[in-house]
Symmetry: C2
């Protein structure tokens, strides 16, 4: 629709996740009118991230060095490993400030329809770490959806024979939520996972 | 939260319109995992648009040349001028395929709270065109919101003495809409602008 460079920019932005044609157009016109310096910084940030950022050779979290800041930190508990799908999930767990162990990023979840099987995930590397490191508990923190549950079940079975405690994050009612608005599956899980109050 | 380059990319994307922190994070991780070639194309598109794209010296539409493709087109009707707020609006009108005249892009709308007065818009240049070109009708196609209406009223008064016909796009019910769901202002406008069917 537009002339050359503007349309190209709209097309490039339209390919990013969560950006529809209208948003892409809005962003392109913002860029057109924005300060040149600011926009060069944006363009550079894209290039720099592709050049500098790698995945940690131990846990596959994002890093600019050989290993990530968590794997390098000697104060983190080496006996507990939290298995997550993505680097984003590492950050989500870190924000809770309630976990002081280390991580293993699978790089996704088992999704037969999307063509992702266990071989496409960093599961072999996880098994390698269990041999080398003194891990006593593995907390499986994959997403509470179909693929995440399938991945958790797969890992649970795979790890059942190695003599390490394997746990899964609790499912239940979100804190601050309203029981009335909880979906049936969540409410069902909350019942299954109910805790005794009068010990 | 993240290490250097990743956080920088998230920050840069978070500054774009319509992209919140969660979307910015999602896009940054998409870029991390995407093909390097594709991401270089995105970075280049941002730079190229800042380098190549200018505003038409006649109508202020976006262009890569001195004047835009519409101003250069000898087949466009030189006697009718459609005044819009933004280049995006030019495209919106073009998509209707019902206007064959030329445009004038104001570069915004009058918004006293946002600090945009008539002097910040390309109104002086519009008056210049009325002297130089053989324009017989000016269609004011600013947005049907507070700022757009204020701009239309301002232009209507400014142009009332020059002996050129000045019109405003009709307000009314959107085609395909439902009368029941129309807001009162729109429905009121539809009444005001009602047409006689039995001539």
């Amino acid at each position: 629709m537009y002339e050359g460079a503007v349309q190209e920019l709209i097309d490039e932005f339209g390919r990013l996740p969560g950006i529809g044609p209208k948003s892409a157009q809005r962003i392109a016109f913002h860029i057109l009118e924005a300060d040149r310096e600011d926009m060069n910084r944006l363009a550079d940030a894209i290039r720099v991230v592709k050049d500098k950022v790698k995945f940690c050779s131990i846990c596959f979290n994002v890093t600019e060095q050989e290993t990530c800041s968590i794997c390098r930190d000697p104060k983190r508990d080496e006996t507990v490993l939290c298995v997550v799908e993505e680097s984003k999930d590492v950050m989500a767990v870190e924000r809770t400030r309630s976990f002081r162990g280390r991580y293993h990023v699978l790089g996704g979840s088992i999704n037969p329809i999307g063509g992702v099987g266990p071989d496409q995930l960093h599961i072999r590397e996880l098994l390698g770490r269990l041999n080398d490191e003194k891990i006593q508990e593995i907390i499986i923190a994959t997403d509470p959806n179909l693929e995440g549950e399938a991945t958790a079940t797969y890992l649970g079975r795979l790890l059942s024979t190695i003599g390490i405690r394997v746990t899964r994050l609790a499912s239940g009612l979100p804190v601050g939520g309203d029981l009335e608005y909880a979906d049936e599956v969540t409410l069902g899980r909350a019942f299954e996972g109910r805790r005794t109050l009068n010990s």
